[in-house]
């Protein structure tokens, strides 16, 4: 199979894993080129949290959906970070590939596109960790108090929050590849989800149409689960309906993403727009 007697190839699974981790490594390396990009995200998250918290204070609401405003917002901010990092990582990364002109080379290789996009997504996840730490400290200072009965439930809910965001980010990756301005789409998508998924205000306080729409967003369900397990001492048994809803909606987005990627590659080859910036 090898054209070169000395070149050895990995198994398909090995190839997939190596593609994912190499993309992750390159992406982390590229993103740490500038010092500002390292502090930008935690700083941005902290400012956003303070802004929302002060807004609640000013409106005289110290209790939201049965918990402290600080606790409610702190957990909501986990959703903001997860959503921002995955949608932004894949949107921005694909836009970046396009501006560099490497997207053609990527498409020419036999590497799994899913592995590449997942590599971006995981780098986004890692980038959000320092922000979460900063937010945790800020949240505690602002008066957030935890009531955890089942650490496993918290872990499962956290995985659901990130997994769900990744699934939606994956579904939008095709749009980023096809569009010449993926970062603008990412930008436009960022804030509506904050509102719809109940990151900043309880979903029950949204107009009914928005509530209905929010049901298809994985993060809406996973944030419910995360709030219940961290602030109200809910167990795995209590939150499983939310987890199941996260899984179901996420799978939907993964299917859309996989279908979209295949269509998009074909469309890009037909229009000849892949290399254009």
């Amino acid at each position: 199979m090898s054209a070169h007697p000395g070149v050895r190839y990995l198994s398909p699974a090995g190839h997939w894993w190596a593609t994912m981790t190499a993309t992750l490594r390159s992406q982390l390396f590229i993103d740490t080129t500038y010092l500002i990009s390292i502090i930008r995200q935690p700083l941005g998250g902290a400012i956003f949290f303070l802004l929302m918290w002060i807004t609640y204070q000013a409106s005289g609401q110290s209790v939201v959906a049965g918990t402290s405003a600080a606790g409610f917002l702190l957990i909501g901010q986990v959703g903001v970070e997860a959503w921002g990092s995955t949608i932004w990582a894949s949107g921005y990364a694909i836009q970046h590939e396009r501006s560099l002109g490497t997207i053609g080379a990527l498409f020419l290789s036999p590497a799994s596109r899913v592995a590449v996009i997942l590599g971006y997504g995981v780098s986004g996840f890692l980038w959000s960790l320092p922000s979460l730490l900063v937010l945790l400290i800020l949240g505690l200072i602002a008066g957030a108090r935890f009531a955890v009965a089942d650490p496993l439930a918290v872990l499962a809910a956290l995985v659901a929050v990130y997994g769900g965001s990744l699934a939606v980010g994956f579904a939008f990756a095709s749009a980023f590849i096809l569009s010449r301005r993926g970062n603008l789409i990412a930008n436009a998508l960022q804030t509506p989800i904050h509102l719809l998924a109940g990151f900043l205000v309880p979903r029950s306080s949204l107009p009914e149409v928005f509530q209905a729409i929010s049901n298809v967003i994985p993060a809406a369900h996973s944030i419910d689960a995360l709030r219940a397990s961290t602030l109200n001492g809910a167990s795995l048994g209590d939150i499983w309906p939310s987890l199941a809803a996260t899984l179901a909606t996420s799978l939907g987005f993964v299917v859309i993403g996989a279908w979209g990627l295949r269509r998009v590659e074909f469309a890009a080859r037909r229009s000849g727009s892949l290399e254009l910036y």
Partner: protein
């Protein structure tokens, strides 16, 4: 899996045709461009084949179709025996592609890290990548700069890294779009040597603007103009199309401004003239190049035309035609 070595032709294009939609602002359509018009050619395994032609002739479009980045509007092609539309994955595995230019590399990564990443995308294992990265860096003479970020590379260095990148997985077939563009003369010579050394183990399809490059490297060439192949064969055969002709160069030691075009038109319409072109030299002089069958007759007419415009001639030369002249004769206009 690879069957290209048993095949007589590594690349076969049959009536390849590509139309682009011209897009205006927003969604407005501005009609269509026929970039490649029913091009057919075959590249024998283990040889270098050159596509030559002026800007916008359709070379890059042809190459993008063959490398599966672009779907043909009609027609078909195989690379290594695999169909470029249906079996694009098999095609990609045996292909190394240089699209060239300043883009196409991760500018914040080092040269070596770029190669390692692309090697990974091709599924190579780590020791193979490491060894091949060293080999190709040496081949393109970048081993001393391998640890530096690509954003600081000169255009020629990037161009060489592009070639290294396309070779990392050692594909049997290479498609190179203007591989020596932007290189200084010495670097171009080095790179040509590297490309020449790829055969007969590899098959190379390249495009170029440089006739002498094609003459040096290619077993066969095809001259493309306005999306069509206008001449094809070995460089010697293509030159043979104008072997009977002679090339006259008339130099005038002044810039001519507006009259130059008029004079060129008058010369081009003289009897026996197959093509005429003019250029302004670095020295500020103007040179007319004329391809013709009867040099003495044409020279009389050309000099008379110049005299009629009050232009003094500083030098005249009559020579054997080159590949450039073949192009001039075939298309009736200058190559550049």
């Amino acid at each position: 899996m690879t069957s290209s070595h048993q095949q007589a032709n590594a690349i076969v294009a049959e009536r390849l045709h590509r139309v682009y939609a011209k897009k205006g602002r927003w969604l407005r359509s501005q009609g269509e461009v026929v970039a490649v018009e029913e091009i057919s050619f075959a590249v024998p395994t283990g040889t270098i084949f050159g596509l030559l032609g002026p800007n916008g002739a359709g070379k890059t479009t042809t190459i993008k179709m063959l490398s599966t980045l672009l779907l043909p509007t009609s027609g078909s092609a195989t690379v290594g025996g695999h169909d470029i539309v249906r079996d694009e994955r098999q095609v990609r595995r045996q292909l190394g592609v240089v699209l060239g230019g300043d883009r196409g590399l991760y500018d914040k990564l080092s040269a070596r890290d770029n190669l390692v990443y692309f090697g990974t995308l091709y599924g190579m294992d780590a020791p193979s990548i490491k060894r091949r990265a060293n080999e190709v860096l040496e081949l393109v003479k970048l081993q001393d700069r391998a640890a530096e970020r690509v954003e600081g590379f000169s255009r020629g260095m990037k161009q060489r890294l592009h070639l290294a990148k396309s070779l990392i997985h050692d594909p049997p077939i290479l498609i190179l779009d203007e591989p020596t563009i932007g290189l200084d003369p010495n670097a171009a010579v080095d790179l040509r040597e590297a490309i020449a050394a790829l055969v007969p183990d590899h098959t190379v399809l390249l495009t170029t603007h440089y006739m002498h490059e094609a003459d040096l490297l290619c077993r066969e060439i095809a001259i493309v103009d306005h999306g069509r192949i206008v001449a094809r064969g070995t460089p010697r055969e293509v030159k043979g199309l104008v072997a009977e002709d002679r090339r006259i160069e008339i130099t005038i030691n002044q810039a001519l401004d507006g009259t130059a075009a008029t004079i060129e038109r008058e010369i081009a319409t003289l009897p026996g003239v197959r093509g005429a072109s003019r250029e302004v030299l670095e020295t500020g002089e103007t040179r007319f190049t004329i391809l013709c069958a009867e040099p003495t007759l044409t020279l009389d007419g050309a000099l008379a035309a110049l005299r009629a415009h009050g232009v003094a001639v500083s030098a005249v030369e009559v020579a054997e035609p080159t590949l450039e002249d073949a192009f001039l004769a075939i298309t009736g206009r200058s190559f550049e």
